[in-house]
Symmetry: D2
Subunit: 398 residues, 4 copies
Amino acid sequence: MKNIFETERLRRIYPAYVDFVTKELFPTELHLLQDKWENNEPILRAKRETAKEAGLWAPYLSEEEGGLGLSMVEFGQLSEVMGTSVLGHYVFNCQAPDIGNIELMHMFASEELKEQYLKPLMNGDIRSCFGMTEPEFAGSNPVNMATSAVFDGDEIVLNGHKWFTTACDGASFCIVMAVTDHDASPYARASMILVPTDNEGFELVRNIPIMGEAGGGYFSHAEIRLNDVRVPKSNLIGNRGEGFKMAQMRLGPGRIHHCMRWIGICERAFDMMCERAANRELREGRVLGHQQTIQNWIAESRAEIDASRLMVLSTAKKIDEEGAKAARIEISTIKFYVANVLMKVLDRAIQTHGALGITDDTLLSFWYRHERGARIYDGPDEVHKASLAKAILKNYGL
Amino acid sequence: MKNIFETERLRRIYPAYVDFVTKELFPTELHLLQDKWENNEPILRAKRETAKEAGLWAPYLSEEEGGLGLSMVEFGQLSEVMGTSVLGHYVFNCQAPDIGNIELMHMFASEELKEQYLKPLMNGDIRSCFGMTEPEFAGSNPVNMATSAVFDGDEIVLNGHKWFTTACDGASFCIVMAVTDHDASPYARASMILVPTDNEGFELVRNIPIMGEAGGGYFSHAEIRLNDVRVPKSNLIGNRGEGFKMAQMRLGPGRIHHCMRWIGICERAFDMMCERAANRELREGRVLGHQQTIQNWIAESRAEIDASRLMVLSTAKKIDEEGAKAARIEISTIKFYVANVLMKVLDRAIQTHGALGITDDTLLSFWYRHERGARIYDGPDEVHKASLAKAILKNYGL
Amino acid sequence: MKNIFETERLRRIYPAYVDFVTKELFPTELHLLQDKWENNEPILRAKRETAKEAGLWAPYLSEEEGGLGLSMVEFGQLSEVMGTSVLGHYVFNCQAPDIGNIELMHMFASEELKEQYLKPLMNGDIRSCFGMTEPEFAGSNPVNMATSAVFDGDEIVLNGHKWFTTACDGASFCIVMAVTDHDASPYARASMILVPTDNEGFELVRNIPIMGEAGGGYFSHAEIRLNDVRVPKSNLIGNRGEGFKMAQMRLGPGRIHHCMRWIGICERAFDMMCERAANRELREGRVLGHQQTIQNWIAESRAEIDASRLMVLSTAKKIDEEGAKAARIEISTIKFYVANVLMKVLDRAIQTHGALGITDDTLLSFWYRHERGARIYDGPDEVHKASLAKAILKNYGL
Amino acid sequence: MKNIFETERLRRIYPAYVDFVTKELFPTELHLLQDKWENNEPILRAKRETAKEAGLWAPYLSEEEGGLGLSMVEFGQLSEVMGTSVLGHYVFNCQAPDIGNIELMHMFASEELKEQYLKPLMNGDIRSCFGMTEPEFAGSNPVNMATSAVFDGDEIVLNGHKWFTTACDGASFCIVMAVTDHDASPYARASMILVPTDNEGFELVRNIPIMGEAGGGYFSHAEIRLNDVRVPKSNLIGNRGEGFKMAQMRLGPGRIHHCMRWIGICERAFDMMCERAANRELREGRVLGHQQTIQNWIAESRAEIDASRLMVLSTAKKIDEEGAKAARIEISTIKFYVANVLMKVLDRAIQTHGALGITDDTLLSFWYRHERGARIYDGPDEVHKASLAKAILKNYGL
């Protein structure tokens, strides 16, 4: 499909990202996935330096901040390229949850917090995490939350239990969502508070084993407890009671970032599927790609990936022009649509690879495991479908 | 989803089409569908006059020819509006197979044929048809064909058997695809010949009963026999042996026209589904639209229709910029993709309507019956998927 | 798949039904479908006589009544055979809604009503219908109903509006469900009353056009109005206020009858698909059946039809041993499961036939149109799924 | 659904298996999955002793051999119970590949091999593996194979490369499929040879990392190399050249064993899904199970699992009565049908669990990873569908 979202600037910088990902990351990623984080971390740090030197660092940042000042439409297309490697976003410092925290702090953090935390984060010197989901409550209903933050003189005292705090292991700080105003209306109850992870009382209970792996460092999702954690009042991000409002502003772009990355995964899996189809012999003179079932999978995948990209970039364009809030419904749409395309494309790519597809000798099994969550995290399919339908039915008087 | 394909001109003329379709066609179409063609024809003729007077006639024609000289991207968006009514394309003289024949004759017919046939066709004074498919051969393999056209002095003598000759009943002429050069290479065997339907030997065997209706006039699909039909040599369209080449040029845009129209149907069915969901009571205070299953259908339909439109208009843009041939693969992609979305949307809309959905009291049952063919005509899904996959796998060395 | 539900008796009589259907019905059914009911009726009457003479009449009736006294498991297997022809059930007097009315009257009608109405119905001398669904209320919530029946001395006066009163056109009587006790608890409000169709005030408004056809006689679905219809009190069937209870008893077996018939349709469509696949040439030496996509459809259809039959006959066995009420949940299960298999098998069979599949030159288009309702009538999929899930979740304390 | 396959004997012994699995295995299995094989092995050995003492050991063995002499229909129902735990089959010594090797050696091994290898295998004192698949060849075409076995005096010399040699790590011997007669017709080329794993030249290259885990011991799948491995001629199992014939006899029951086990997994996942649906609160007074989408999943899963069981046990009955060869087509049918039901049920169960579903805090993620292979191992879906379709189309003359 024709790229109707190309820009002059993008045409200039795009090839460098493709080149970097292909030459610097593809050859090492499989090996890294099978090693421990502590062994991988130095290697990735070196890659990051190379990316910085090549002027490819954090392209979404403004030019003053060392980025390229891209529109969402432009960044989306780079993000797809990054997504073709499991290491792409990390190496260019575009990885969740840091990118979301950077955007958030940019808008709402005090100058002191920016100086102390945002700058090194933007520079890739530290990592961060975001503590929202609690095991005791359905994630689909975010206003249900038990973590509390009590203002006590110049301090805030936090107590609570979170999980799926992605990349907490090794992070310098966590932005914690906590109830500060229990009696306020549901959406005005919570606030966001920056909590250094070396704070007394901040307990990393475990890296949750997910799909067979607890992982470590950046590649992990923690269960944490906040036991009478004390931070200065100035660690409040934005206004008290505006936690949900800010979370919405953080989650909207967060979801489209995921969609962009998923399309990158789809393209890579698609490429692997075609490569396999063209080369795997069934018998003399007949390869997998001659089989009509495989052809069907290739054709359906191509159509669905193209559709996904057009949907995501149209949504990005709306965000660029009207803001993330105006594009709320489009974001819900692409969230469930692209997540499901991702599942289908991965499944077909695995089946095309046969037994090889379930081994860790290709990337497919990594994505199959770690992207099953795509239909769950940041709102399950069911919630986004309901949101979209209700917004539509409102126009019909419901 | 944001309309990223809007143009200044489109913004100007679009509302007039929406208005016409809504006010002039929606109120009459259900009634017409249940009456005979001979009763409907005068009503439709009057509507056509109104459309002409309003300057809405055949917008795809150049301005000199009385049209609006639209790009494919622009026409696509009007075609969608027309497609929301079962009468839309006909009333604006944009209906298949005439629109395809007009495009074809425009490019390849002699001046005499243009004067005698194309002009009144463009003006809506006569109708035409196109004779290609033969019952004895799989349509998916177009080079298999038994209809012959023998050059005999100044005349051509045709013999053969065709079916699915859409709108033959009442048409003034048929463009017949016939083998003129039996021993040429497969794709150079056939030619296109204009055959007046009042010619001796041109036999309309029957209007084929399709999904319960033989229909009549424009709403019919004929089985025909050519029994020693004689036409002057000058009725040859284009060059001898170039029938397939021209058929490809005719079919490419033809397929995208269908896709545009299908999206119009999807939007109308979607609107009916939402209307029903918002108003049909299950019990006091609970309507269908409160049910999560219905919400799922609405959300999935919205996503799939939006994806379809983006795919189709992107393809249209490519045709505008690079020509239909360059967009061959994209056209295959949207052909199967949109046809399947259409099936799903219609099915959900019917299920939402319950028993009402299978009656002829709404348009849904008409589309359900008459668009099942969308996955078959102009190439079945399976053929388009294989074409797409093979084109992709070529890049992988297959 | 092995037939694990065969019985000695079935082995004896089964071939005669297969034989009759194949030789007496297959050759005429397509022709009949394209003619009017008044022309078809005498032909069918003759077929019925032949069936009676061959001892194949109404096998579900007890032996005293002229039937074969079959178990549900046995009848199910014959019903499947009947279902392979669109005329099967009618010719053997096993057609809905008569079979349901026969079962109902057998259990609940007074001796007078049995003498006057049931006997000729069992004998095929008259036809009947059943008036339940009302256009103003969602069929999924049967207790919502506006038709009233007021006891007035020795008479009952009925007023109301019904639709989808199948086969009303030409029927001698209608069993009408009407509210007799407006203030009773919801499930005790309605009663069943036998209303002769020649009664003053019984108005057949129209045969509803469904999927393009209003049909006529047995092949029709009426909209009716009851305008101050008066019948004697003795026309009450069963006890006053027990209408819903009896409806449940009527609908349970009614649903399994449909499932059995659908499997017959599946088998016939499957046979047509295989026949086509084995014979339709794509090119020299290659037929449709060599294509892997077609093979997939055949394999998936075979598996799903086999699964359907096992499910239906297991349910029948439970009905035989424990009664229809005990099998309520199983009946809901097969209702939605088999209806969906039917849709898939028909769709694949049509696609395999290409353009021919949408014509009326095969039976597929008839079933495609007239069985789309299978997912709606007698309770839409959504209602049956919810019933099943709720029954299961009850065991988990919900 | 009614159990139409119950037997008197089964009714007697069935509860003991349910009891054992529930009380002895459910409480420990999650913990074991997260530990190393060497730590788990002694625990499992103790469980096996308990099972033996309870008379539950290897019920498929004849009574003389210490089993219960069950029919396939009976064993199938116990196998389902075992399958509800990830440890079930192992603890009762019914695990693949040992059960397949036991059946095979029973039929074809010499008395010496039986004495030396089969007896301790049946007794659970040793484990075994089966070397068939080779990475260089598509598993869907089993006659393509490069491993060779050359007869050299009294010895056989093996060279080759195998992978997916399940449970090789710690096994005492491997039954290797190797080409002995290169010039014979394709299906007469290979033989089966018993190779002790401590043989010089038998190299376990690695336990293949599959879906993130290399595993160990019984829970592993090895890549092996045979480097001039020498075994005595008497290690030949069955006749030379009959390897494929025996493989077919081994694989048929092997496939149905998988299907039975998968149904057990389905039932357990279904139970977890219902439990979660009934208890997970969305908000005060509303749990997941009140959501219609969840109800749909529960209903569809129930229907599909019931259908699967009926299909599998019908096939088992045919095997009991007519032998595995006669049921070849039914086995292909259930292989792809049940594998796909398994995927769907697991997927729905995970989605119902939300974030918890992708953690290793439940069994779902283990099955999600390790049963994705179900659609691949022992023949991918595509191969079984083609086999079934071709067998059917043969009856239509193709």
